[in-house]
């Protein structure tokens, strides 16, 4: 096993750093229902980390714990070497963690450009008055942020829908806009909740390409949940497998693929 601070270089030549986020014995309950039971794993800087599992395994709950939406009853979240106190989602976002949602949460009536601009909120410092008058710092900030957003638009190849209201876009493109908004926050960790759900093969290929490119170009650490096993195995460096709220496997795609507990969970065996 690698030391927590040690990095390594992947087969395709990417630099993976030390551990940036750690889950220590997380347990999350909703009343009597135990959604996550005593789970520990870590995320290394620069890697693509997948969380997979059958329906109801607790994947989205796990992601919500990372994003600060849920505060686990037991266990600790360590981020950048420090224990994270219970936080509101916006506080987590300020720490550099951005996410997309399984069922798309964009502003339908706003243009693609404006939607992505909302992702820059963290980079806007000007006060309310300055913003309203649009003078001095506010104006300059707007220009800088617009520039950053345009680079993302270029990166994700959505120039043709820049001014289109999001509500009019097809599903696959909305997903891409959501990714763009998350990227606009310049996150150090990007959480993707089922980025390929409901997509056709071609859209999945495009999305995979973008996820890899984001990781490669910006060095962004990515944690993603995905149903499509093929996609997960191709994309990720390491995979956590969950079933019924428990962790049943953790390791490289190959290790996970050959793990008996994982095979059982996916093919189905009687549970005790």
């Amino acid at each position: 096993m690698l030391d927590a601070t040690e990095g390594y270089i992947t087969e395709d030549g990417r630099n993976i750093g030390g551990v940036v986020m750690e889950m220590h014995n997380i347990t999350l309950r909703f009343g009597g229902v135990v959604a996550i039971k005593d789970i520990s794993f870590d995320i290394r800087e620069g890697e693509i980390r997948a969380i997979i599992g059958p329906n109801g395994a607790g994947k989205s709950s796990m992601l919500n714990v990372i994003s600060g939406f849920y505060n686990p009853q037991e266990g600790e979240v360590w981020y950048k070497g420090a224990k994270r106190p219970p936080m509101k989602p916006y506080q987590v976002a300020r720490q550099g963690i951005a996410r997309t949602f399984q069922n798309i949460a964009l502003f339908d009536g706003m243009s693609v450009l404006d939607n992505i601009m909302t992702g820059r909120i963290r980079q806007m410092q000007a006060g309310l008055l300055a913003q309203a008058l649009w003078k001095g710092k506010a104006e300059q900030e707007e220009v800088e942020n617009r520039e950053a957003v345009e680079k993302i638009i270029d990166f994700l190849e959505i120039q043709h829908i820049r001014k289109t209201p999001v509500g009019r876009l097809p599903y696959g493109l909305k997903k891409r806009v959501e990714l763009a908004r998350a990227l606009a926050a310049e996150p150090s960790i990007l959480l993707l909740d089922e980025p390929m759900a409901g997509m056709n093969v071609e859209e999945k290929e495009d999305m995979s390409r973008f996820v890899l490119d984001v990781n490669d170009e910006f060095g962004t650490t990515i944690a993603l949940i995905e149903h499509d096993m093929g996609v997960v195995m191709d994309l990720s460096d390491r995979v956590v497998v969950m079933d019924y709220g428990k962790k049943i496997g953790d390791g490289s795609p190959d290790e996970v693929r050959n793990n008996q507990a994982v095979i059982d969970a996916y093919l189905g065996v009687a549970h005790d």
Binding site: D12, G13, R146, E147, E150, K151, I153, D154, F155, E157, Q159, H160, R162, D213, D216, E217
Partner: protein, 658 residues
Amino acid sequence: MAQSSQATGGLESVPALLQRNASEFGGKPAYREKEFGIWQCWTWSETEKEIESLALGFINLGVQEGDFIAIIGRNRPCFYWTIVAAQSVGAIPVPLYQDAAAEEMAFVMDHCGARFAVVEDQEQVDKVIEIQERLHQFEHMIYVDPRGMRKYDHHKLHRFVDIQEQGRAAYYEFIEDLTARRGKLDYDSVCVMLYTSGTTGNPKGVVLSNRNIIEASRSSAEFDNLQQGEEVLAYLPMAWVGDFIFSIGQAYWCGFCVNCPESADTMQTDLREIGPTYYFAPPRVFENQLTNVMIRMEDAGRLKKWLFDTFMAHARKVGPDILDGKSVSAWDRLKYTIGSFLVYGPLKDTLGLGRVRVGYTAGEAIGPEIFDFYRSLGINLKQLYGQTEASVFITLQPDGEVRSDTVGVAAPGVEIRISEDGEVFYRGPGTFEYYYKNAESTKKTKDENGWVATGDAGFFEEGSGHLRIIDRAKDVGKMADGKLFAPKYVENKLKFFPNILEAVVFGNNRSECTAFINIDLNAVGNWAERNNIGYASYQELAGHPRVLETMREHVEDVNRSLAEDPMLSHCQVHRFAVLHKELDADDGEITRTRKVRRGVVADKYEDIIAALYDGSEEVSTTTEVTYEDGRKGAISATLKVCDAQVVPVGPARQEAAE
């Protein structure tokens, strides 16, 4: 054919024109490209510097005179610079179709023996790497977009900006060399080599000299009075001769500005923002635009729809006449002016054609309704007839003599003759030098007096003296009873329906004609949506009974109009099938410029053709398809073969026709 360069003031090459433009129009825009949402602009003097540093970089990299440099990418200033930089160092630029699969590129790159390639992005780099082993002479690749390229082995792979940087660093080492090489260029040196896609056999490399390009650009620019201040939008494939003439030849001759769209998908928006004054598009583009307008008008409010219908009807009546400067009553003129204010003007702006002074369409026949629609709006849309071997221009329509069924009079300096069997021949200053490494084809196409066979059958119309093209000469055949079979003519009539994207008519050596039809997914899909017809795929929509019914109506309409033509009334379509897939260039069924490869289609769909003739009502078939990345797959379908009514042609009329 001894044109001197006196007419062009001693400007004998494109790099020489560049230098003139930089000194005469130094501060005027030469290129614009939309990047990160903003139009970036390069003036002529900036362009000269960019090209110079690239040319120096080429020398630094070891480009020799006579080398071939392949260029693979969409229309971007850097690729136009590459063309001129290559010429400056005495190399020959060879633009390729960027959407071609690796296999197709392999042939061309091997045939010309390219030592260098300048490509756009990772996708193209991957394609070239895939075929690299088979290309013995290939050495270095230069890419523009660095995205995803970091992990590649960079021994023989370079960034475009780095090459320019190295060129600038090596200025004093190579500038004399560059000046010397540039000085050697004259009217006879090769300007560019363009591969024609060809509906049969392998592509041929057409070698065009500076004389060809500059003379053709000069005379055509004079013909339409093109000025330095024109604006064009470069969006058609760079490998196509048309783009070369418009965006290099005429642009450098006149010194006007070439605008490059942000991406292929934003073309319509960019068109609106730029508002070109000189515009070229194949009929397909005009057709799509019109379809979109009509679809959107269906959704418009009542008042708007009424305004549109009323004034468009008026425009159809008097618009073309006003454009041609014919006399129109004062009342009609007033009504047209009101229409311009309320409808035509805003519509033209939306289409991005508000400033168009000269517009051309070519490559295919354009539907008369489509043609008239644009002309009635006051857009000076004209037709030209040309080919790669002629540096585009063979005939052009002069202002005021524009019609949808002819292609105009001989371009300035071009002579045309019709051979005894009806084939069109031409010669002129733009006539190509030779086919590269293909003396046999050169000999077959171009005789010792410089006459070039077009392969098209046509005739000069009596009275107007305009040329009319009937069909590809080799496609014109005979029916079983010996009567003339002209498939293209019938296909065009079918394709003029917005619902029909492509049609292929069979009938050579047969007793009756039959047809394949491709539906237009845009138009038919929209119709289906309006009529609550659900469909999951192209295939399902194409096979829908009501779609087939509509197609039958279209075919029968065409049959009725054919019946009135004594020469072709026997070419009525008796049976047809709506194909389950679009004919696609990736499958080799059409060329990259969208011309049907009849041989390939006939072989590939042999079973369906058999069904068209043996009277069966259905046919099950499996078709191989090629995906964009070169992988193959198969789709199977059961197609209905439909009968269409034909108009009986009475023997009396037939006699009259004979």
